[in-house]
Amino acid sequence: MSPEPAAAQGVAQAPALLHLEGLAKIYSDGTRALSAVNADVRRGELVSLLGPSGCGKSTLLRLIAGLDQASAGKVRWLDDAGAGAAGGEAGAAGAAGTAGKLAFVFQEPALLPWANVFENVRLPLKLARRDRGSADRAVAAALALVGLEDARSAYPRTLSGGMRMRVSIARALVTEPSVLLLDEPFAALDEITRFKLNDDLLKLWHERHLTVIFVTHSVFEAVYLSGRVLVMAAAPGRIVAEVPVALPYPREGTLRTEPAYGERCRAVSRALAEAAA
């Protein structure tokens, strides 16, 4: 495998989809969670936000999703068809406006404990008042994507951590989003399950032509998944480096043992260490 710069899925040439302009977030107690974040995300890209705890990477993702409002700056979606035009300015209303186009996978699976797998995955469609027949078909398709057809009537408490996260991912995919935001989704899982879900995510990203923004604190995970790693530093939270990963897709588990992969991991680790210094 060649470490030469290679455009993954022609992403380098793709137009920008999301534009972050001088984004800042100051909490009411005066904590500066984010300061002057500028970045572009291109259509079809898989980009990671990597940084230590408390560097504001989750906050940044929430601003992008419209779950929180920025204190300054703008989240601009450059394509109406991409994720809705409402973006950051409208805050919660923006979140409503982007429903369906944008999906969020949280750190915890965040499933309704009183609903079985099928009902949990159906939730976004139910909230959007989609009719029952087409909703049921979409749910069945989403469950098939994550390999959970047989668990449809199981309740969350009977599932393993990995399976719960799969349900969470199926729920995110059921609205057929074009943009997927993931906030350290696999941090609580054992490494073997995490590797498996990493591969699943890559496959879904490729097959569904998703744009993915992936928040993680694992260098190895960031390098394995993404075409580009945005390295963040804390106090105040900001993006300090952009490291292209330039390993060709599709990527498989064997990549983890290859020197080219180790080299990228070292490069990203160095950037992270410099950021902390």
Binding site: A92, A99, E108, A110, L112, L123, R157, T158
Partner: protein, 274 residues
């Protein structure tokens, strides 16, 4: 849903489970036997402390008339509990709609709760002409607070991440309330109801004591008073026994209701072995 762990139980565990079930029964029997022996050997007169056998005989003899009184008390208790569930749930729902409503109403709910029933029961009985209604009001007063306070807590306990998720999908306030807050509050509501079940019975008994209604409408509490005045102590114990059994039945019924509604998902209804 039964896990595979259910089948593969080691033999020692079943023996321990059987012992755990038998132990309280054995203790009860030992206690009753000791009581009977003490009463007989010390020749304690029946109007001071009757033995369990005399009490059971009395229960058998006066059973029908005591049972009729129990039904009077139970009718008040269950109706008060039902009203507490409805009114308590509704009040909690109302308070969850706005912080202002909650702050205005909750202090008064607390005041009602901390005022001793025995102190206000005479007033209520004077003010409300209908005896049945006045007793009902007394029982309801003590029963409704646990439902209100628990359900209010439950409605506020929705998982933050799930709230975010609902927001992300543009859920309306009403959808959040119905599909997230209400199911979250259900175990809290049922917990409150279990406390209220016992309190409603106590409330009904206290109110009957204060009202002192005799005649055909006499509840079990009045029969206890009456038996006390007449020094019919075995009858007093028999009535007490019925009252305790009724309380246990109410509790068990509510626990069963709670299990039926929560068994699929809530921690409280999970099998122990996990």
């Amino acid at each position: 849903m039964k896990g595979p762990a259910e089948k593969g139980k080691p033999r020692g565990a079943t023996a321990a489970a059987a012992a755990a079930r038998l132990a309280p029964a054995l203790l009860g029997i030992a206690f009753l036997a000791g009581w009977e022996i003490l009463v007989r050997s010390a020749k304690i007169p029946v109007y001071v402390l009757p033995g369990p056998i005399v009490i059971l005989e009395t229960l058998w003899r006066d059973g029908p008339s005591l049972l009729a009184s129990l039904l009077v008390t139970l009718r008040i208790t269950l109706l008060a509990l039902l009203l507490a569930a409805v009114a308590g749930g509704a009040l909690a729902f109302l308070m969850a709609q706005s912080r202002l409503i909650e702050r205005s109403l909750f202090p008064y709910a607390v005041i009602l709760q901390v005022t001793p029933l025995v102190a206000i029961a005479p007033l209520i009985i004077i003010w409300v002409d209908n005896t049945f209604l006045s007793l009902l009001l007394c029982a309801w007063l003590v029963a409704f607070f646990p439902v209100v306070s628990n359900t209010t807590l439950g409605l506020k306990s929705a998982d933050r991440t799930l709230v975010d998720l609902f927001r992300l999908y543009g859920a309306s306030r009403w959808q959040v309330m119905l599909q997230l807050q209400l199911p979250t509050a259900l175990p809290y509501f049922l917990g409150g109801l279990r406390i209220s079940g016992g309190l409603a019975l106590i409330g009904a008994v206290v109110a009957e004591f204060v009202a002192g209604t005799g005649g055909t409408a006499a509840g079990l509490a009045f029969r206890i008073l009456e038996a006390g005045y007449r020094l019919e102590i075995p009858k007093l114990f028999a009535a007490l026994l019925l009252l305790a059994l009724a309380g246990i039945a109410i509790y068990a019924g509510l626990e069963r209701l709670s299990w039926l509604l929560l068994r699929r998902w809530h921690e409280s209804a999970l099998p122990r072995e996990r």
